[in-house]
Subunit: 482 residues, 2 copies
Amino acid sequence: MINLKLIFRVLGFLVLVEGLAMLLALLVSIIYKEDDLNAFFIISSGCIVLGLAVVFFTRKSSKKIGKREGFTIVSLVWIVFSIFGSLPYMINGYIPDFTNAFFETMSGFTTTGSSILRDIEALPHGILFWRSISQWLGGMGIIVLSLAVLPIFGIGGMQLYAAEVPGPAPDKISPKIKQTAKMLWGIYLILTVSEAILLWVGGMSFFDSICHSFTTMATGGFSTKQASIAHWDSPFIHYVIIIFMFLAGTNFSLTFSALNGKFIRVFKDEEFKYYISFIGIFTLIIFAGLLISQLYGVEKSFRDALFQVVSIITTTGYVTADYLLWHPFLTILIFSLFFFGGSAGSTGGGIKIMRIVILLKNSYYELKRMIHPHAVIPVRFNNHSVDSKIVTNVLAFFILYFLIFIVGSVIFTIMEPDMPSAMGAVATCLGNIGPGLGNVGPVENFYHIAPAGKWFLSGLMLLGRLELLTVLVLFSPSFWKE
Amino acid sequence: MINLKLIFRVLGFLVLVEGLAMLLALLVSIIYKEDDLNAFFIISSGCIVLGLAVVFFTRKSSKKIGKREGFTIVSLVWIVFSIFGSLPYMINGYIPDFTNAFFETMSGFTTTGSSILRDIEALPHGILFWRSISQWLGGMGIIVLSLAVLPIFGIGGMQLYAAEVPGPAPDKISPKIKQTAKMLWGIYLILTVSEAILLWVGGMSFFDSICHSFTTMATGGFSTKQASIAHWDSPFIHYVIIIFMFLAGTNFSLTFSALNGKFIRVFKDEEFKYYISFIGIFTLIIFAGLLISQLYGVEKSFRDALFQVVSIITTTGYVTADYLLWHPFLTILIFSLFFFGGSAGSTGGGIKIMRIVILLKNSYYELKRMIHPHAVIPVRFNNHSVDSKIVTNVLAFFILYFLIFIVGSVIFTIMEPDMPSAMGAVATCLGNIGPGLGNVGPVENFYHIAPAGKWFLSGLMLLGRLELLTVLVLFSPSFWKE
């Protein structure tokens, strides 16, 4: 029997947390004396009361948490958060219908950044703040999930890092969850504050600085401006955001090492090397392409190339240039970055650098295996040979990802009959990026998509954010069989 | 040291075979008394003399054939064949420049079917016949390669079938090559003749019947008409071609079993079941879609759906309807079929049904593995558990295929800046299909592509036809190191 009471208890506790987070948005409304004040007051107190009540009534639940409870909670958290989180948008009529509000909130909590809003600047500060903090909470949730919770269940490829710790990994990690989580939140908070200060120094308003540092560190990409980061014509601001997007897409346990002075570990890390190499290669090619097409000057070409590459590879989704106006060769290069994603253990979504590296290595080694069919040639990563089970898991993940992308694009053409637009929308939501191609491109939004399409994309965001298998396993009958 | 002499000997022998095949085209020229007669006379005698000379001068070569010689010969055969095979097009000026002639010939020998011709009906019969026979020879080459040669080297996934024969497989197969080859050619010939007779009975001219039976059985798709099979408005002809495309995309060893009355083996074969299921599902959806869009009547809708599905999944590439005029949902469904391919051991190209099935099963089993992390859950295929080495090989193949498709599409946009056209051209050539999307769609041709693009696509055809790894291994330094 599944421990329903415990599931309710955990969800109740998290709704309480969501209600408390709304209090911050309420505070913003009070400061700016805007008309979203009442909405935030009602909804946050509602969430807090409901959360407290559920926690109180389930206080006698058994503490036994198994796989079934774990996976169910993980998927439900994002759904429950998005349902309650969409209420502030609806009550004051800023996003009156539930479909749009849910899409926007799911896009927030999954740190995707796709938006249905057509006039962001018209929104009150409380709402804008709530939008940003939803991504920040989502990002915080995901690092804890991927570095502290999922490895216990053997998903997310983070077993590779767990394997570096000598001794039987699961026993070591479980009691460490709280400690690891604290350390990660510490880094997340430090980086957020640092970025906010730098952006403020760079000339952003205090409010915008905070909102953007929230959504950068979450690799979310929601902006307080309709034109996204292109709104600020400041190289300083652009470079600051590039650096923090880069950090947000880096494994947080590496950042922890760096903060402790262990730079050797950072630069020996294979995923980090590839992460930098991919960014370097793509930036150089696009920089060259932009120079040839003579769209902008040299510095701006470089900055735009670097910004867009880092923004897409880390799955943040901010824009400073409309890549759809570039030569199609550069546009499709950007589109191919939709299938990379941040590092494992970062807030970035997508396939992730580590998986890409293992996939490429395995294919290369297959040639060697063909030449020496009787030799056992394992994939090596960070100087360890990777267990073939992990390779198969990574490959299975990739196949599923590709399959969902293809089938998703096919289904989506029913609602959006333009092929690049359909493929762009599906890829960007599945990879938690933000902007797509065609009529969901960087200067467009998702407002015009049919309701069914919005629900479909919301599902893809969730699926992508939770590493596919975490959600799909809930649909497997043998998961529910004793 | 690589046995260069032997490589020359084998290639010399094959050029001799090509020269003999050209004699057949010469015969056609003589019958129709057309102006391509001299060209065929000169080139076929040239090939025969050259072939004989090479065979004569290398008669003392050692018989030692290793992996290195094997892989080198396989890749070179298609290139050498295409170089000599393009001469007949060039000499009489029907395709004056080498790039176009090479593209057309490579498209022939790899059984792709993409064409640069803008007025096929203006060509003399000898040239048309040569075009068709180049595909037929290519198809014959590929079934021998995939069922008798590659399994020895452990590629192509056919180890699975080899594994069904008890005892150590390689020893068993080597002496059997000649016998297996004879049996396969027998079936290939019987099916070709049967189809030619049926098409002729159905109202095609004798010449067209032979040409189309050649290109159907090779899953090639070259037609003697600019409009392809749409030229004939005859349901009978369409259904006959559907049946033979289906057979050409079926594992020839299964057809052999069926001809020997062992129907149980055929219907127990898992790849065959999935092959039929995929065709059934896609046909039904497209049939329904065509009915809804009310483009044609009921029977024609069904026939067009079935024809296009079978044509694309088997990688033949004939067309009876322009799928680009359908609703984008149906077009992208057809495009997703570009990533299927025929059965293993058929003349069909692409990823192949068996690989798709193993990939899907492995991803599904991964969910089970996640639920029971300590259980060993192998992929099962045809009631045997599949060696994890084969699964890794299949997965590596898929990753490479996908990577080549993505990188190829990106590079190709430099030459062809329309994204769907670029993706369509790369996918259709890599999968040895024929028609693509956009301006290389079913009623278009490849004439307008820049020369660099044509060479690029010719390379992709070769890569796809030879199962990627066979060609790529030649570029691996460790392959050449002792």
